[in-house]
């Protein structure tokens, strides 16, 4: 049973109790506790269940590397899943719940998976996919679905704020231990702009826990003095609770700061995301202790040796009264000493090394602790908590020599530098045989824009495992970073002396990847490598036997290191086991790729303030407010909002669309067409340029005339269409689709700037400079005549021409173009006058029965006319020839973008699907995207198809469903009936007809 000790605890305040709940149980902790230390202080060893087998799990670590103690925190909109209890600062009223069990933490039905463990081997998921379909649907899928996923997403809106900060610095120092502090001091004293960040709430790293003395004083005093000096420097920025997430190209680093996670609701942002641009980066990120692989190493009560002494020294919490220490190195002896000094029992130190006699070992012996060298743990007794251990010889198969009763085990397999951030941006690693770990290779660092080293590792993170070396390394790293900056500052002052540290004499460690070394197959099935994802030694060995030689493949096959802890504790052990199974040295196996994030980041921090109204700016036309006050039902079109229809009181959307179409066809309608792209192309070579951009000839267009044009990319695919207007000899106005304005402007600019840069042409995107209003319907001309001003008669302003003039006192350009098939005028005015003109048209149009119409009526009317819509009839694989638009492709031009592609064999294949109209036999509306079935099956056993629906509507004009579609040999098959299988086994039959359903000769638009 874990417990709170009556004295000690350098971080806790005994006179400030805090109340919190765990799974609804009221518990009490102390100010300064982490949630993990508070839980342990309350005897709560069992904190979660493992992912696959739902095995009982306790706290293993004391920091960000914790794999087991994942909790859901808070409630309602503040609920946050998957928080590590070890990194949660306790506050009054904290509510935590454990995860991944059903129905309860103590009794979990999912634990039955554990009994079925031999049926859930490595690669289970992959193998399952090859099982018969029935087994998958009935057995595996429900099982996996219930087991899948850790934690639950909150369902209510988050009431807290999140924000982004941007900062530029010369040197970013990551890690607030003594190496990081020394690096920041060294850099800060030169006047460089320095940012020092620490992921936890405390400065100093492990040094204060280890009882290190600097200049004869406790480490904590040196840390305080260093902080004091740094705080006095105006050029140094200090941040606690700020975790470096990742290091990216050219010195970009992301930090995740938990600003107010421990003080919820105090008005400050909960999290903050820092986007740092650093000229150099120092990673003083420390090291992580490795677990040992022995039978039962996952039983609650088995912890990392360093975590055990963290809990005792920092929070006066002991994992048990009798702790057996098991190790392959000297460092774990420090835990035994700490426990003993706290008055706790250490019945034995089990040391795998044949001989153990370094100074730390001597001190343990002097304190009366029994040291059993050359020994190993054959097994842990207990299931939901440790009851004892069985000892065996390490160089054996596990024959039990004795049993020792205990309620905790402190294990240490050695230390691995945290090389993640070094590796994110390309830093390479070296295998250090003596420490059995990877450390940064100083010869192959990540490099920056100048080709010089960008990242410098320091201290434990650089493989400098002893205090004096780690401290000096902080200085060395800072000097190297300053030198690479090339500011000359590094030569500025004399080197400040480093504090004196008593030398440590440490005996060599013994690499241990399996304990005991010759453990049998059965034992290996009970040795955990990845606690969170339940990957055991046997799983990795199975992967190796099944041919998974690459560490990257083994990772994915076994899911080793793929849990939310990303294998912080398991990776090195896992790849060492794989290496042994493959009979090759560890460096030959190598590591998996280290990718950001170093530890999970909240979605809130990533989103920052980009939510709600600020998520994405909405583009509004000058007439937007009018639409809003007149009941527009909005449709998002890119960043624009366009009225879909204007339903009246009690009217359905569908009925509104029908009314709007009929009114435009019979009287007069009004459309806000301001979102259409309007690109001005001007210059002596403008015509020549547009002849390249459009498939048809634009240079021959006369001033005063309009021409419909098509734009293809170099692949020949149709990417946009619209009406081109010649304003004068050197000036064209190119209309694009609403979604195409920016894209087509960029397309034009790219060709102008990178291919035809000597052509004398300028372009400008004027989309937002003009409001454009379409006045559509048989009474359109009468309405404009009522406004008064310019002559809009058929003779003065024929179809496909335009004039500048005045209407009702507005200076306008009027284009006689039609996307509806009706008599239609599109009127452009400067944006600032758009609303006034619109209101005037509504007012004067009342006598003609004018109604505004939305995008759906626009779509219906264009489909009735067989006009294509980019994005409906095109999908990036369609060429103009597929759409019956061959007439818009110039045969005279020597070149245009897409011309060469149109000659490729596949583009001229007579079997390409071509545009037709489709009329359902029963008058119903075909589902959009439905496929026309053909006889037979393809090579994948799928039903063959011969066409698909690209647009489908109910046509109020024809009183039936109409559709446009692409059909194999379609235009040659007029009158043929196709079958379109729909949902529920229904088959809809439709006849192939002309795509022009209404006014086939175009008489109405030409009046």
């Amino acid at each position: 049973m874990s417990l709170r000790l009556s004295s000690g605890g350098r971080l806790i305040e005994r006179d400030r109790p805090l109340d919190f709940t765990f799974n609804g149980r009221r518990l009490r902790g102390l100010a300064g506790d982490s949630l993990a230390s508070a839980l342990l202080a309350n005897g709560q060893m069992l904190v979660g269940r493992s992912f696959k087998y739902h095995r009982p799990r306790g706290v293993v670590a004391s920091g960000v590397e914790e794999p087991n103690a994942l909790v859901g925190l808070g409630r309602g909109g503040r609920f946050e899943p998957n928080r590590r209890a070890t990194t949660v600062e306790l506050f009054d009223g904290l509510e935590a719940v454990s995860q991944n069990h059903w129905p309860g933490l103590g009794f979990d039905l999912g634990a039955l998976n554990d009994l079925a463990a031999r049926f859930l081997p490595a690669g289970f998921y992959y193998k399952t996919f090859m099982a018969p379909r029935g087994a998958w649907e009935k057995l595996f899928e429900p099982l996996i679905r219930r087991a899948a996923g850790l934690g639950r997403a909150p369902e209510e809106p988050d009431p807290d704020g999140y924000e982004h900060f941007h900062v530029h610095v010369d040197v970013l120092v990551i890690g607030g231990g003594i190496s990081g502090l020394q690096a920041a001091l060294t850099a800060g004293r030169t006047g460089a702009r320095v940012m020092l960040v620490e992921q936890g709430p405390h400065w100093g790293g492990r040094a204060p826990v280890e009882g290190v003395r600097l200049d004869g004083r406790p480490a904590a005093e040196w840390v305080d003095a260093a902080l004091g000096e740094l705080e006095r420097m105006g050029n140094v920025h200090l941040r606690r609770r700020a975790m470096a997430v990742g290091v990216y190209d050219h010195g970009y680093a992301l930090l995740h700061e938990r600003v107010a996670a421990h003080t919820p609701g105090d008005g400050r942002p909960r999290h903050r995301l820092w986007k740092v641009r650093a000229r150099r980066i120092i990673t003083a990120t420390g090291a992580l202790e490795r677990p040992l692989a022995f039978v039962g190493n996952d039983v609650p009560g088995v912890m990392l040796a360093s975590a055990v002494r963290d809990y005792v020294v920092n929070w006066a919490v002991a994992p048990g009264r009798r702790t057996v220490v098991v190790t392959n190195n000297d460092d774990a002896y420090r835990s035994a000493l700490v426990l003993r000094e706290a008055g706790l029992e250490v019945p034995a130190i089990v040391d795998a090394r044949p001989q153990a006699d370094g100074p730390l070992v001597q001190r343990a012996r002097e304190m009366g602790i029994r040291v059993v060298s050359g020994s190993a743990i054959a097994g842990v007794k207990g299931r939901r908590r440790v009851r004892g251990v069985r000892l065996c010889a390490h160089e054996g198969e596990g024959a039990v020599l004795e049993e020792i009763a205990c309620d905790a085990v402190a294990m240490s397999g050695g230390w691995s530098p945290v090389v993640h951030l070094w590796s994110h941006c390309g830093g390479k690693l070296l295998w250090e045989e003596g420490q059995a770990h990877f450390r940064p290779d100083p010869q192959r660092p990540p490099t920056g824009a100048d080709g010089a080293p960008l990242v410098f590792a320091a201290g434990n993170a650089n493989g400098r495992m002893e205090t004096a070396a780690a401290l000096a390394d902080g200085q060395v790293a800072a000097e190297a970073a300053l030198k690479a900056l090339g500011t000359g500052r590094e030569r500025g002052g004399a080197r400040a002396p480093l504090p004196a540290v008593a030398p440590e004499e440490v005996a060599p460690m013994l690499p241990v990847w399996l304990m005991p070394r010759k453990a049998g197959a059965k034992a290996r099935m009970k040795m955990w490598l990845d606690f969170q994802n339940d990957v055991k030694v046997s799983d990795v060995e199975l992967a190796a036997r099944e041919g998974y030689e690459s560490v990257e493949h083994t990772k994915r096959y076994t899911t080793l290191g793929m849990a939310t802890d990303q294998g912080k504790l398991s990776n090195i052990n896992g790849l060492a086991v794989l290496s042994e199974a493959l009979g090759q040295p560890v460096p030959q196996t190598g590591t998996t790729t280290f990718r950001p994030p170093w530890a999970p980041v909240s979605f809130g921090a990533i989103a920052g303030e980009a939510r709600g109204d600020l998520f994405q700016p909405v583009r509004e036309t000058p007439i937007h407010r009018w639409h809003e006050t007149h009941g527009a039902h909005w449709e998002p079109v890119g960043q624009w909002r366009r009225p879909y229809a204007y339903p009246r009181d009690g009217e359905s959307l569908h009925d509104a669309v029908i009314r709007e179409v009929r009114n435009a066809r019979q009287a007069v309608g009004l459309l806000d067409a301001s979102t259409l792209g309007k690109i001005l192309v001007r210059g002596p070579d403008a015509g020549r340029f547009l002849d390249m951009i459009y498939t048809n000839m634009m240079s021959t267009l006369k001033p005063g005339r309009c021409r419909y044009g098509l734009i293809c990319n170099e692949n020949g695919f149709l990417i946009d269409d619209g009406v081109v207007v010649r304003l004068d000899k050197e000036t064209f106005l190119c209309h694009t689709t609403t979604g195409g304005a920016e894209r087509i402007h960029e397309h034009m600019e790219r060709w102008l700037q990178t291919e035809w840069w000597d052509w004398r042409v300028f372009t400008a995107d004027l989309t937002e400079q003009y409001a454009q209003i379409a006045v559509v319907g048989p009474k359109a001309r009468a309405l404009l005549e009522r406004l008064g001003g310019m002559d809009v008669s058929r003779e003065s302003l024929p179809f496909m021409e335009w004039r500048a003039g005045e209407l009702a006192g507005f200076a306008v350009r009027v284009f006689r173009i039609s996307f509806s098939g009706e008599l239609s005028y599109e009127i452009a005015v400067p944006a600032g006058q758009g609303l006034a003109l619109w209101e005037r048209l509504v007012e004067e149009g009342a006598a003609f029965g004018i109604m505004p119409y939305g995008t759906e009526a626009l779509h219906v009317m264009r489909a009735e006319k067989g006009f294509i819509m980019i994005g409906d009839e095109t999908d990036g694989t369609v060429i103009p020839q597929d759409l019956g638009l061959g007439w818009a492709i110039s045969k005279k031009k020597a070149d245009y973008l897409g011309k060469r592609a149109h000659q490729r064999p596949h583009m001229t294949d007579p079997n390409r699907w071509k545009l037709v109209g489709l009329e359902t036999l029963d008058g119903s509306v075909l589902p959009d995207g439905a496929y026309a079935a053909a006889e037979g099956v393809n090579e994948n056993g799928q039903r063959k198809v011969q066409g698909r629906v690209t647009s489908s509507y109910f046509s109020p004009t024809l009183g039936r469903g109409i559709a446009l579609g692409l059909v194999e040999h379609g235009p040659e098959r007029m009158g043929e009936v196709l079958a379109f299988p729909a949902t529920g086994g229904r088959i809809i039959r439709a006849r192939i007809v002309s795509p022009v359903f209404y006014d086939k000769d175009g008489e109405k638009q030409n009046v």
């Binding site: 990216y248 190209d249 050219h250 970009y252 641009r277 941006c425 390309g426 990540p446 490099t447 920056g448 824009a449 100048d450 080709g451 960008l454 170099e714 692949n715 960029e746 600019e749 790219r750 700037q753 990178t754 291919e755 840069w757 020597a894 070149d895 011309k899 060469r900 592609a901 000659q903 490729r904």
Partner: protein, 107 residues
């Protein structure tokens, strides 16, 4: 998250200000080109591990296209220059050769 200097406005632009345009100095093949030449123009790119020329547009700045000569492996930037050229300027070639001895420009 690269930082590249826009040669038109002289700004050290963060990658978020820029839009990528793929490999630079690709020669257009027009209607007279052979199938092989056209295929190479459309689809074949060098994708080198090392010295590379890339088109970038200062999208949230001056809007101009420029070319960055950089190393895809080391992330070193040798320089940037306006896209209105069919070959890297001599100064850029010299900068690359200083860092990658023996390097030759291959059109």
């Amino acid at each position: 998250m690269l930082i590249l200097e826009c040669p038109f406005c002289g700004i050290m632009a963060d990658e978020t200000e820029l839009a990528p345009g793929g490999e630079a100095h690709v020669r257009r093949v027009g209607p007279e080109g052979s199938d092989e030449a056209f295929e190479a123009y459309l689809f074949m790119r060098r994708n080198p591990c090392g010295v590379h020329f890339e088109l970038w547009r200062h999208a949230h700045g001056c809007g101009r296209w420029f070319i960055a000569a950089r190393n895809t492996l080391t992330l070193e930037v040798y320089g940037t220059y306006p896209a209105q050229t069919d070959r890297p300027p001599a100064a850029i070639v010299r900068a690359i050769r200083r860092r990658v001895p023996g390097w030759e420009w291959q059109p």
